[in-house]
C-alpha cells in the first residue's frame, strides 16, 4: 500500500464515500445504483453528496428491487460500465443472490472470457447496531461458496478505502460487505489521495507466537481487544483476512505453522460458516504444526435475536479470551 502524505481522520463511512468519489472522478464508467443512494445518500450516508456532484445519471436511487439491482448491474457491467450496486442491508441480499450465483459468478467462465462482470455489490453487514430483524445478518459464506465471486470485508476506515478502490478496479464481481457497527465507531487517519490495498492479501495486524486469531470486519477489533487483554499471559498473533475469497492461504498457513494454534472469530452462524473453511485449510496444510484443535468463536446456530438480546449472540471479548486460553492450555 502506497500511503500518501496528506491524511485526515475519518470514519469508515467517510472513507468509503471518499473512495467512491475519487473513483467516479477518475473513471466515467463508475456509477452507483441502489435503494436510496441518491439524494438521500444511502441509509448510512455512504453515498452522501455524490448525487450532488455526479448527478442522477450516475448516482441512481432505484425502485425497491434487489434482484433488479444486481441483474441490471450485470448488464451494465457487460456493456462497459463499472457499477457499484448497493443492497441496503445484507438481509436483503438473498433476492440478489440468484443473479450473483447464476450470472455474475459465471459469465466470464460461461463465455470463455468474452463477457465479464466488473461490478461491486456493496452492503452494510453484521450486527451490533440494535437493528430490526434481517438487519444484522452475516451472509459472507453464501458468497464465498460461490466460485467466480470475490468477497471483501474491511475492518477500519483505512482498510475500507483501499479495499473498495481495489474492488471497483477489479475485473471480476466483488461482494463488498461493510461492518455496519464500524461505520462510525471510530475515526482513523486515512490518506486523502487514492490508494489501493490488493485483494487476496491478508494483514498481520499484531504479531504473536503462541496462537493465531483469524478475523475480519467488526470481529477484528474485538479479537484484538481480547489479544491485548491477554498480552501478559499469551502471545497472540491477529490476522485480518480482508479478502475472504480468494483467501490468503499462505498467510494463514505461515502464521499457524509458527504459532501451532488458531482460533477463528466470526459473527455468522457457526454451522458451515467461513470459520469451517479456515479450520479445514489449517487441518489440511498445517496439521503437523498443530498443538491444539483449531476452534471457532462464532454466532450461534440460531436466527439472530432482536435488539434486546443481540448481545447474547455475537462473539465478544470474553468468549474469545476464554477460547484463546482454553486452546493454549489444551
Amino acid at each position: 500500500m502506497a500511503v500518501a502524505k496528506v491524511t485526515t481522520a475519518v470514519t469508515m463511512v467517510q472513507a468509503l464515500n471518499l473512495a467512491l468519489r475519487q473513483e467516479m472522478e477518475k473513471d466515467p464508467s463508475v456509477m452507483i445504483l441502489g435503494e436510496d443512494v441518491g439524494k438521500n445518500g444511502g441509509v448510512f450516508r455512504v453515498t452522501d453528496g455524490l448525487y450532488d456532484i455526479f448527478g442522477e445519471e450516475r448516482v441512481i436511487s432505484t425502485p425497491l428491487a434487489e434482484t433488479a439491482v444486481a441483474g441490471a448491474a450485470i448488464g451494465l457491467a457487460i456493456n462497459g460500465m463499472k457499477p457499484v450496486a448497493e443492497i441496503q442491508f445484507e438481509g436483503f441480499m438473498p433476492p440478489a443472490f440468484d443473479q450473483m450465483f447464476s450470472h455474475a459468478a459465471k459469465m466470464r467462465n460461461r463465455s470463455r472470457g468474452r463477457f465479464t462482470v466488473p461490478m461491486v455489490l456493496r452492503a452494510p453487514y453484521g450486527g451490533g447496531v440494535r437493528a430490526l430483524e434481517h438487519h444484522s445478518e452475516s451472509p459472507e459464506a453464501y458468497f464465498i461458496h460461490t466460485p467466480g465471486l470475490k468477497v471483501v470485508i474491511p475492518s477500519s476506515p483505512q482498510e475500507a478505502k483501499g479495499l473498495l478502490i481495489s474492488a471497483i478496479r477489479d475485473p471480476d464481481p466483488v461482494v463488498f460487505l461493510e461492518p455496519k457497527r464500524l461505520y462510525r465507531a471510530f475515526k482513523e487517519e486515512v490518506p486523502e489521495d487514492e490508494y489501493t490495498i490488493p485483494l487476496g492479501k491478508a494483514n498481520v495486524v499484531k504479531e504473536g507466537k503462541e496462537i493465531t486469531v483469524l478475523a475480519w470486519g467488526a470481529m477484528l477489533k474485538v479479537s484484538l481487544e481480547a489479544a491485548n487483554r491477554l498480552k501478559d499471559t499469551i502471545s497472540v498473533e491477529v490476522i485480518d483476512l480482508r479478502t475472504l475469497a480468494p483467501v490468503d492461504e499462505e498467510a494463514i498457513v505461515k502464521s499457524v505453522k509458527k504459532t501451532g494454534r488458531a482460533v477463528i472469530v466470526h459473527e455468522a452462524p457457526k454451522n458451515c460458516g467461513f470459520g469451517a473453511e479456515l479450520s479445514s485449510i489449517i487441518m489440511e496444510k498445517a496439521f503437523l504444526s498443530l498443538k491444539a484443535p483449531v476452534k471457532r468463536v462464532a454466532g450461534w446456530d440460531t436466527p439472530i435475536p432482536l435488539p434486546k438480546y443481540e448481545d447474547y449472540y455475537y462473539p465478544n471479548v470474553d468468549r474469545i479470551m476464554k477460547e484463546l486460553q482454553r486452546t493454549v492450555a489444551f
Partner: protein, 351 residues
C-alpha cells in the same frame, strides 16, 4: 389487421371528500355505532403511534415505523374483516394490527426489540411484522389458498407499500392469486414514498391499481385518507374474494412522518408537500363528517382521546413490566426439538 384486442380501465373511489362531505350514494351501510368505532380505532392508532414515537426518542424502544396519516388506509380495511379473515401486515400496520386484536402491549414489546412481540396471541389471525418488503404477499396467497382448499369462508387482507410493488415477490403473488383464484385482497398503500424514493420514480405506471391488469385481477384506486372509501372497497373486495376473485386496492395516502425513527425525511422531501397533506388528515376528515352528522361532540372527542391515552399508558406499563427472556429462549424456537448442537451452544453461552 391492426385492431384493439382488449380494453381495460381503472376506477377511483372517494366517498368522503376532503371537507368531510359524504357522497351518500356511495356510503357503505355503516351504522353510527360503526362509524364511532372506526373513529375510535383511528384515534387509538394515532395515539399509539405518538406514544411510541415519544418512547423511541426517549430510548425506550428501537426502530419504529410511524403510521401517521395512514389511519384511514388501515382502519377501514381492518374494520371490514371478520374474525375468520386473516391480516398479513408489513411493518407499518400497527393500526390494523391493533384493531384485528393484537393487544397494544404485545406490539410495543416487538418495537422494544423482543421476539415475544411477534407472538400474536391465538386465535388472532394475523402474521407477525414482515420486514423484507413485499415477501409477505406470497404468504398471504398461501394462507388464502389453504383456506380455499379447506372450503372455509376466510379471506386474506395483506398490506404492502408502493415500494413493494417493484419487487418480484409482489408480481409472483398476484399472478398466483389470479391463477388459483385465491381469496386475497392486496392492499397497496401508496403513501407517496418508499423511504426517499417518490412514487413517481418507483414505476412509470400511471397508477399502482393498474398493476392488477397484468394478472387479470380486479384493480381499483381509492382515496386512502377516506375511511369510508377504504372500508367500502375492501368490503366489496372481500365479497369477491370469497367467490375466488382476488383484488388489488391502491390507497392513495401519505406518510406524514419520517420513514422510520432512523430516517430524516428532510434530506429528500419538500416540507410543502407534507403541509399539503396535513390538510387532508384522515381523522380530521371523519371528524368533520361526524360533527356535521351530529354523532360527535367535544365531550365524546375528548373522551376518545383520553381513553386511548389511558389504554396505551397501561399497555406500556404492562409491556415494560414483562420479564426478561431467558437465554434458553434464544435456542428454544429454532426447531420443534432442540438439536444437540444448540444444547451445547446454550451451555457454552451459560458457562
Amino acid at each position: 389487421m391492426r385492431k384493439v384486442l382488449h380494453n381495460f380501465s381503472i376506477e377511483y373511489l372517494q366517498v368522503l371528500d376532503e371537507n368531510g362531505v359524504c357522497d351518500e350514494s356511495l356510503k357503505p351501510p355503516l351504522s353510527d355505532d360503526d362509524v364511532k368505532k372506526m373513529y375510535e380505532a383511528m384515534v387509538f392508532a394515532r395515539v399509539f403511534d405518538e406514544t411510541l414515537l415519544k418512547l423511541q426518542r426517549e430510548g425506550r424502544m428501537y426502530t419504529f415505523a410511524s403510521l401517521r396519516g395512514q389511519e384511514a388506509s388501515q382502519i377501514g380495511p381492518a374494520y371490514a374483516l371478520s374474525a375468520d379473515d386473516w391480516l398479513v401486515p408489513s411493518y407499518r400496520e400497527s393500526g390494523a394490527n391493533l384493531l384485528k386484536g393484537t393487544p397494544p402491549e404485545v406490539l410495543y414489546v416487538y418495537f422494544a426489540g423482543d421476539e415475544r412481540g411477534n407472538s400474536i396471541p391465538s386465535p388472532v389471525k394475523h402474521l407477525p411484522v414482515a420486514v423484507p418488503v413485499g415477501t409477505q404477499t406470497l404468504h398471504a396467497v398461501g394462507i388464502a389458498w389453504a383456506a380455499k382448499m379447506r372450503g372455509e369462508k376466510s379471506a386474506v387482507l395483506s398490506f404492502c407499500g408502493d415500494g413493494a410493488t417493484s419487487k418480484g415477490d409482489f408480481h409472483e403473488a398476484l399472478n398466483f392469486a389470479g391463477v388459483y383464484k385465491t381469496p386475497n385482497v392486496f392492499m397497496v398503500i401508496n403513501n407517496g414514498w418508499a423511504i426517499s424514493l417518490p412514487r413517481s420514480k418507483q414505476t412509470a405506471a400511471e397508477t399502482l391499481a393498474q398493476k392488477a391488469i397484468a394478472y387479470g385481477l380486479r384493480g381499483i384506486q381509492v382515496d386512502g385518507n377516506d375511511v369510508f372509501a377504504t372500508y367500502s372497497a375492501v368490503k366489496e373486495a372481500l365479497e369477491f374474494a370469497y367467490r375466488g376473485v382476488p383484488s388489488v386496492i391502491e390507497c392513495v395516502t401519505y406518510r406524514m412522518s419520517d420513514h422510520t425513527t432512523s430516517d430524516d425525511a428532510k434530506k429528500y422531501r419538500d416540507p410543502e408537500e407534507v403541509e399539503l397533506w396535513r390538510k387532508r388528515d384522515p381523522i380530521d376528515r371523519l371528524k368533520k363528517y361526524m360533527y356535521a352528522k351530529g354523532i360527535m361532540n367535544k365531550e365524546y372527542e375528548e373522551k376518545v382521546q383520553q381513553n386511548s391515552e389511558k389504554r396505551i399508558s397501561e399497555a406500556v406499563k404492562k409491556a415494560e413490566a414483562i420479564q426478561e427472556q431467558e437465554p434458553i429462549d434464544l435456542f428454544k424456537y429454532v426447531y420443534a426439538d432442540m438439536p444437540l448442537r444448540l444444547k451445547e451452544q446454550y451451555e457454552e453461552l451459560m458457562s
